[in-house]
């Protein structure tokens, strides 16, 4: 009897495993012509990979190339959409077999993945605001600030040129920062920039010059354990290059053939050696610790202190007999608790920036986190104040205390004891939530991990290391809670 559930569990596990790994049926290996090949792509990166606004179909330069390759190589093509940062982990775990997403070949990626022959050659350009005229070469970037996507190699190019780098999620937000005057320049590849300028029609930014003489090569990426696909792709790409298909696709999108190496004297970007996992961890542990000490912890401490002050104010307003105060506090608490923290953060940083209130990233994050803590802790503080017996107010009143004195000296100290456990939960959440500040350019702990992971593709070790940092900090906070509670409740027997 007992074996039936076990068998069912095993069967379920087998099904689940099959779904997760999507192991191709064994028969497919014998008949390569029908092999299912899952191609991972962002789908949000026009003109390379995006959804056609009219048909809703995935299209774009990379999509058309990989479709042509699939037809030539006889693949049963399945397109899988995922954010860029998760494409490599998906490839590692076997959820996709190929990445077609303008993946630039670099030594670290080459150490871990196989690449087809390149189907795009691009070079870097420097983008500035229209009225900037003192930046035309990489040398001009020294000491200036650029906005870069963390995943792109252009961040490294900018850093090597001596520029400070602020990280953005996408090229569009980067241009917004440029227009807002938060950064001086963006280094990106000519194709993406030309396309952006053409499609957005903006005249607020311009291409100010070339970013060195490097040419970058973009290719399809494969698992190292899957050389068969790579060989099929290379054969197909060679055919497509010879019969003019690649050139035709390129002309369609860029009015130029970006599928051939056009410039001479290029520096080979694959010259340097790839780092091992341990070297990456060792090189990143320091910056992450700095991010923790200079980003995460100060942001947490300041936001918690300001947030608690707001919370006490909001709690007292909620308890006030003045209805306007109560109403304001209710609306505040309702907005904070009813909207995502990430949205609040973006409103303060990007939103206010657009109407002329340009806050420093730390300040913007501090404001957003403080408001958030204030909204959540207000109800904790209010409940704690209400849990102090009514007789305590009366005793304070009859010894002649006014409202402020009785709150400060009698009620709040007793409420504090009740509030500590729930507030320490709020603090733990805040510590972890500060990782969201990475999205508004604050160089805190998680930002450093993301940057290093994007460059090295060592996602698992680096994110685990980040998790360990957070865990240790939270443990220390938890350990400090018990003595604090003892101290606050020393009078209760």
């Amino acid at each position: 009897m007992g074996r039936v559930p076990l068998l069912r569990v095993l069967a379920l596990l087998a099904i689940a495993g099959g779904v997760l790994l999507a192991v191709p049926p064994a028969a497919a290996v014998d008949r390569p012509a029908e092999r299912v090949v899952r191609v991972g792509t962002e789908g949000t990166y026009p003109p390379f990979t995006y959804r056609d606004p009219d048909s809703g179909e995935l299209t774009g330069f990379d999509i058309e190339v990989v479709r042509a390759v699939a037809e030539e190589a006889g693949w049963d093509l399945r397109l899988v959409e995922a954010p860029f940062d998760s494409l490599f982990p998906a490839l590692d775990s076997g959820r996709i077999d190929v990445i077609a997403n303008q993946v630039t070949i670099n030594p670290e990626r080459q150490a871990r993945y196989l690449f087809s022959t390149p189907y795009t050659y691009s070079h870097g350009v420097i983008v500035t605001a229209q009225d900037t005229d003192d930046i035309t070469t990489l040398a001009d970037l020294r000491g200036r600030t650029t906005a870069q996507t963390s995943s792109s190699n252009w961040a490294q190019v900018a850093r090597d040129a001596g520029a400070k780098v602020q990280y953005v999620q996408d090229f569009g937000p980067g241009v917004e920062l440029l227009v807002q005057g938060r950064v001086d320049a963006i280094v990106n590849d000519n194709i993406a920039v030309l396309d952006y300028l053409a499609t957005s029609g903006t005249d607020e930014v311009k291409i100010a010059g070339d970013a060195g003489d490097e040419t970058l090569e973009q290719a399809l990426a494969f698992r190292r354990s899957d050389p068969e696909l790579q060989q099929q792709a290379d054969a197909a790409l060679a055919t497509l290059a010879d019969d003019g298909t690649l050139a035709a696709i390129s002309e369609k999108y860029f009015r130029a053939d970006v599928t051939v190496r056009e410039r001479t004297g290029d520096v080979d970007v694959q010259a340097s050696d790839a780092r091992t996992t341990w070297e990456v961890l060792r090189d990143t542990a320091g910056p992450m610790l700095v991010g923790l000490l200079k980003g995460t912890i100060p942001l947490t401490v300041v936001s918690f202190a300001v947030g608690l002050t707001l919370a006490v104010g909001a709690a007292l307003a909620r308890l006030s007999s003045v209805r306007v105060l109560d109403g304001i506090a209710r609306v505040y608490i309702s907005i904070i608790r009813g909207t995502p923290l990430l949205v609040q953060l973006f409103i303060v940083f990007f939103g206010l920036g657009q109407v002329g209130i340009r806050l420093d990233p730390y300040v913007a994050a501090g404001i957003a986190f403080s408001l958030n803590v204030g909204g959540y802790a207000a109800e904790i503080v209010r409940a704690s104040i209400l849990s102090v017996p009514r007789g305590q107010y009366e005793a304070a009143t009859v010894i002649g205390m006014d409202y402020g004195q009785s709150m400060r000296r009698i009620i709040l100290p007793q409420a504090a004891r009740i509030a500590v456990p729930p507030l320490s939960n709020t603090l733990l959440s805040l510590i972890k939530d500060t990782s969201l500040a990475s999205l508004v350019l604050v160089p805190e702990l998680f930002r450093e991990a993301q940057v290093a992971a994007a460059l090295s593709t060592e996602y698992l070790p680096l994110y685990c290391l980040a998790a360990v940092y957070y865990w240790v900090v939270c443990q220390l906070v938890t350990m400090a809670q018990a003595p604090l509670e003892r101290r606050l409740s020393r009078y209760a027997v």
Partner: protein
């Protein structure tokens, strides 16, 4: 002798419930007034009106030179608050549930008002507090927290805390009702001492035998009015039938 306390025409409703329907009485300085009555009669509301823990709808309360006419209160908020503060400053209150500040030591409870409100010198206030503690039999317990004391000790600290403010009148709201029977005696002994020292006391209590012993004046309150007012003889030989019935009930239960 001029009266230290004067109460005239006190009215108070909680919603539809008309708790006080015109309460009048006076009390001379240095006398003990015992307020008796069935539960719900309004006796505690009378006491709490004397320091404005309840705000009467109408009527006048005077303690010494502090007067507040609730029927015609000062027009502006500031003057009203000043009048309330003045009235409160003339009395100290002992609560049924002591309401000591649990996060402060015994000494801390005693000096809180004198130092924070009356702005007296902390050392002087502490010295005075130690004397008061000795007076209520708690010398040496200055550093204990209220939770470390017995109910009787807590209530004696409550009395000392009220005395520390040097009020003109002490208001005691059923000071022994929340205590275990064996602890009642020690608290009554302290109150007896206060009476002997000619403190002006207004006590709401059910301890009729104790009341007979200390009362200079007895107010029997029923259904929101002073049903009978007189000397301690009210407790042994009341004129009013409802007073008689009440006393019989309480003494039987006791």
């Amino acid at each position: 002798m001029t009266d230290l306390i004067e109460v005239r025409g006190l009215e108070k409703s909680f919603g539809d419930h008309h708790v006080l329907r015109g309460v009048d009485f006076t009390a001379a300085a240095g006398t003990v007034t015992v307020v008796l009555g069935p539960s719900g009669s309004g006796k505690t509301t009378v006491l709490r009106s004397l320091n404005v823990l309840e705000t009467p709808d109408a009527g006048l309360v005077r303690i010494d030179d502090a007067v507040l006419d609730f029927g015609a209160p000062p027009a502006d908020r500031a003057s009203y608050r000043r009048a309330v503060t003045a009235l409160r400053a003339r009395s100290g209150m002992i609560f049924q549930a002591h309401n000591l500040f649990p996060h402060k030591t015994v000494l801390g409870n005693l000096v809180e008002g004198p130092v924070q409100v009356q702005r007296r010198d902390p050392d002087e206030a502490a010295a005075a507090a130690r004397e008061l503690l000795a007076q209520v039999g708690l010398a040496g317990r200055e550093d204990a927290y209220p939770a470390q004391l017995s109910g009787g000790q807590q209530q004696r600290v409550g009395i000392a805390r009220a005395l520390a403010l040097r009020p003109e009148v002490l208001l005691l709201d059923e000071p022994t009702s929340a205590l275990d029977p064996e602890l009642v005696g020690e608290v009554l002994a302290v109150i007896r001492d206060l009476a002997a020292e000619r403190w002006t006391l207004v006590i709401v209590t059910h301890e009729v035998r104790f009341a007979r012993e200390v009362a200079d004046q007895v107010l029997f309150i029923d259904d929101g009015v002073v049903a009978e007012r007189g000397g301690p003889e009210v407790l042994t030989d009341p004129r009013e039938e409802r007073t008689r019935r009440f006393l019989a009930r309480v003494l039987d239960a006791g």
